[in-house]
Symmetry: C2
Subunit: 243 residues, 2 copies
């Protein structure tokens, strides 16, 4: 289980344009275990997105016990990536294919002025947001739906049906958090949901419109994609496998 | 009134070894107003310390109304420094000499593992802290005292008497905050108080010891100085002057 500050990374997945979380893990594990290691991540978070509990697995011949790897690896990792826990898993465990519930949190700073220490971990919205309207709009998304309208048009996924188990919109002072738990999420889905709920919170969209947007099955009807830095993958729970 | 993320600065005060908040403000104001500008800050925060509401004043011949300067200046400032508000003040207003109350907040992350997105804004303490003991210890510091024991030995200040109006130790989940309001603070005073309260919270110092430490008037008896990144100057209120 890995936590990271995504600010300085080009997301999870290895890519030619810049350093990624996956790449740092592969390199550090390869050095530590002295064998080529390639991790498989549960959630391939975007550039600038953070995680408290992403999951990565890898094969290894090492004799180091699974529980000890986190300590040894943390010595080698930069301070914006931390292994919270490590353990041996069954050989057939695949972090994306096994059934899971993921929880993401989107954080908004809704204040009169931006706070510099919040800039990398929340989206600053100046105009007052009505969180009750956002909560009402969010309630229409709960359940099993075709979320095609809330998926990046670039995505090539065919089955766009997902289950949202719950969405909570909460205000604590000037911070508003949108916490979503679901069976899985389409590309940019949480950020498009956040962007749509913000439109509702600003009063420029009726909460009930969200229901219609779902029915349209067309990305063009939903709100804009909210920026990456507000998003954190909080946890992944595996249903059948005890990870 | 200026807010900043102190992570990338060598503190407030201009110095030869690296870039400072004061230097960035001087440079940006000089460019904006097209005359040499030198700001005077209320609190010369250390390297890595953050602020939500530091105060800086400067003299200028400009015709730009005081309230408009914040907007123009924010266009020029990097995104880790923000002017929350600007206005014209009386000519005799001096942000350090005028009587004020300052509020600092020290933030501790007391959890099983460090959280990467918190690393620049809190001090990570692994062992469980008992916040009730910390609150009891803090209560002995309230009032007018000679805080010599809680002042960096390097300081050359002669009068080490200050008034602490209040200290609140609060836990919210894994975050513990120590919020201190006082008439002024000696060099490193808040960080030494935080370091001492952490020792109490860990159970390695009795709360009542804090009373004795005050009486010793010797830096050697207090706890260690807690690291800079947990500290934020929250606000400064001027008592006589309406700033």
């Amino acid at each position: 289980m890995v936590a990271y500050d995504g600010t300085n990374y080009c997301g999870w997945q290895v890519q030619p344009n810049g350093i990624t979380i996956e790449e740092v893990l592969n390199r550090s594990l390869t050095e530590l275990l002295r064998e080529p290691v390639t991790v498989t991540g549960a959630s391939r978070t975007d550039s600038g997105v953070h995680a408290l509990g992403n999951i990565a697995v890898f094969d290894s011949e090492t004799r180091i016990p699974g529980e000890k790897i986190s300590y040894a690896l943390n010595q080698r990792l930069p301070d914006d990536i931390i292994i919270r826990e490590s353990r041996e898993v069954e050989a057939d465990f695949h972090p994306r294919r096994c059934v899971s519930r993921k929880t993401y949190c989107y954080r908004i700073l809704n204040s009169r002025f931006p706070i510099p220490t919040e800039r990398l971990y929340s989206y600053f919205v100046y105009n007052p947001l009505q969180e009750e309207l956002m909560a009402e709009a969010a309630s229409y998304l709960i359940g099993e739906h075709d979320f095609k309208s809330f998926c990046s048009a670039r995505s090539q996924v065919i089955d766009t049906t997902r289950i949202i188990y719950g969405i909570k919109v909460e205000r604590s002072g000037e911070a508003i958090t949108i916490r979503i738990t679901g069976s899985g999420f389409l590309y940019n889905m949480v950020r498009i949901i956040a962007g749509t709920l913000i439109k509702v919170g600003l009063g420029s969209m009726q909460p009930l419109r969200v229901k219609e947007i779902l029915e349209k099955k067309n990305r063009a009807f939903a709100g804009p994609k909210a920026p990456a830095q507000g998003l954190t993958l909080e946890k992944i729970e595996y249903i059948n496998k005890i990870y």
